[in-house]
Amino acid sequence: MRSGAISFRGFTWRPVGRKNPTIAGLDLHIEPGERVLLVGPSGSGKSTILHAAAGALGTTISGEATGDVSVDGRLGLVLQNPADAIVAERIGRDVAFGPENLGLPRDEIWRRVDAALAAVRLDYPRDHLTSALSGGEQQRLVLAGVLATEPDVVLLDEPTSMLDAVAAERARDAVLAAVGDRTLVVVEHRFEPWLDHVDRVVALDPGGVVGFDGSVAEFLASGGRPRLWMPGAPPPTPIEIPAEFVSPAVVPEAVDASDVVLTTRMIRGTRRHRALSGFTARLAPGTTTAITGPSGAGKSTALLAMTGLVRVSGGTVTPDRTRMRSRELAREVGWVPQNPELGFLTTSVREEVERTASVLGVEVEADELLALVGLERFAPSHPYRLSGGEQRRLAMISALAHRPGFVALDEPTVGQDRDTWAVVTGWYTAAARAGAVVALATHDPDAPRDVEIAVGEAVTAT
């Protein structure tokens, strides 16, 4: 009999610090070789289910698990944040980590490394530096590392959420070719492109219960479940956020970037990397500007340069805020980072929202803001104990609660279901309507905008 089955029997999970279970009595059986798409609103428990299958709940992540989980055969897991999974300085050694653990002889290790790198179409030499890979390439490297152990089951958590359509398609092809006839479970919000390649769809409802389980055809015929990005449906209308929450507390000022160049140094100053070259833009009050471009093109860098949070190596940005004191800068600029985890300053969700505003002496209604983004239940929780999408929404309102005049968001719509997407986009469009300067770095073609600026081709080391 082939291995690769996964089964949950009456599985319940209550993380530390939560009154109610986040997964309640889950029964799910996946056959060897089946390809399953796992979908559900933000916070419904998708990542938790993958962690459970990997045996991390109750061990690495603390909480109380009851019921049964069993995985038959070897398991490979690619987490939501690929950078956490990289263990070596060079790509060859990184992929070799799994085969080394299996105690394979040296030539077999390298045969598998080369095969895995080829399968994910990462064609760099074995000694290429892992720190020189873009986010999408890192994701493929981690996948190669998993494939090299020849797992029976492959679990992927939002493997293409950070990629533009072209890069996402390339990554998807690589995954499908490499997975072959192994069991595959993939989690994704924008799942349409996966539908042609999976046998079965499992949709979770809020609270971690299965709301739909069946074939792709049945899923489409059933009309899906609320809040999911069903194929063909037009993007939701951004919700109306009352002006009192977003109208700038300072007078917004246009931002001009002219011919901006930014280089960074890598590996102890021995190499230079040009992150941005010749970027020119004008951001006007009351306007939403989207900065777009392929993966690795420098969207985030361009956004940062305009906020004055980094010094440019060439060209000018006006007003120049690089020498401003932190408080004055914060009063004028609200920046929402791409990786929300790096932004948390406090130990509870409510304090997080109030933090900047209280430093600046601006009044905020934290509970109302939290209710708007659907996080009111989590007010006393630790910000780190939220799902990926929840953390992003928290990071957004924490950075914008004090109503700055320049709103800069880095990939704000990633990892959101339809409802939370409408909140996020509603927030910044309302800010622009109230007169703020709004800029977002994004690869989401549906995110509303008035003006679009494309940054150049992916730039390489010089």
Binding site: D84, G98, G103, I109, L329, L345, Y384
Partner: protein, 232 residues
Amino acid sequence: MRTLITRVNPLVLLSVGAFSLIGSFAVRSLPVAAVTIGLYALAALIFLPTWRYPLACLAFSGFAAVTIVYSTWRLGGQNTEVAAVAGLRILVLAWPGSVMVGFIDPGRLSDYAAQTLRLPARGVAAFSAALQRFSGFAQTWESLERTRRARGVAPGRHPVGQVKHSGSMAFALLVQAMRGASSSSIAMDARGFADARGRTWAEPATWSRMDLAGLALAAALGAVPIVCFFAI
């Protein structure tokens, strides 16, 4: 010459630090201290691909040295020479090692630690994966600082504020490292690390002639103050 450093084995690089540490105990007079530091600086100029990085390390160990000089001067009867020697001794002790660490590839180090030194395989592999995370630390620090600035909580020019700020940043970094570590351990276990028995190594730990020459050079540099100590 200047890329040799990336080709010698990591134990040789570590030995540079170890020998300088042993040698530092024999630094007892100003001329010896000056000669030793001079020779290390010369070696750095000849063998390292960049001079900025060793200079940065020098600045860091120099900071430690200056505090030692000052306290020795205060407590040691305000004798300038004794104080200067104490400071330079710290430089000899810390500088070469701190520079070398920056050039060590954690993966290669674990090959040698496990195969030449025969340390336990699982511990070595875990350690090397943890070291790998350190290379991302500078970047993480930058991002943390940036978010804090954007959120209005970075310090002004006031020194007390600065110190408090570094404290909270270090704490944030620690939390971040621990969170990263728990996801890392999930990811590592999902690649067979949890039940690795009889782990193998993708690359052998060999000792070339160049490695031996490097080891000899490291020993010679470390021996300079010792020889001087006995000769004078």
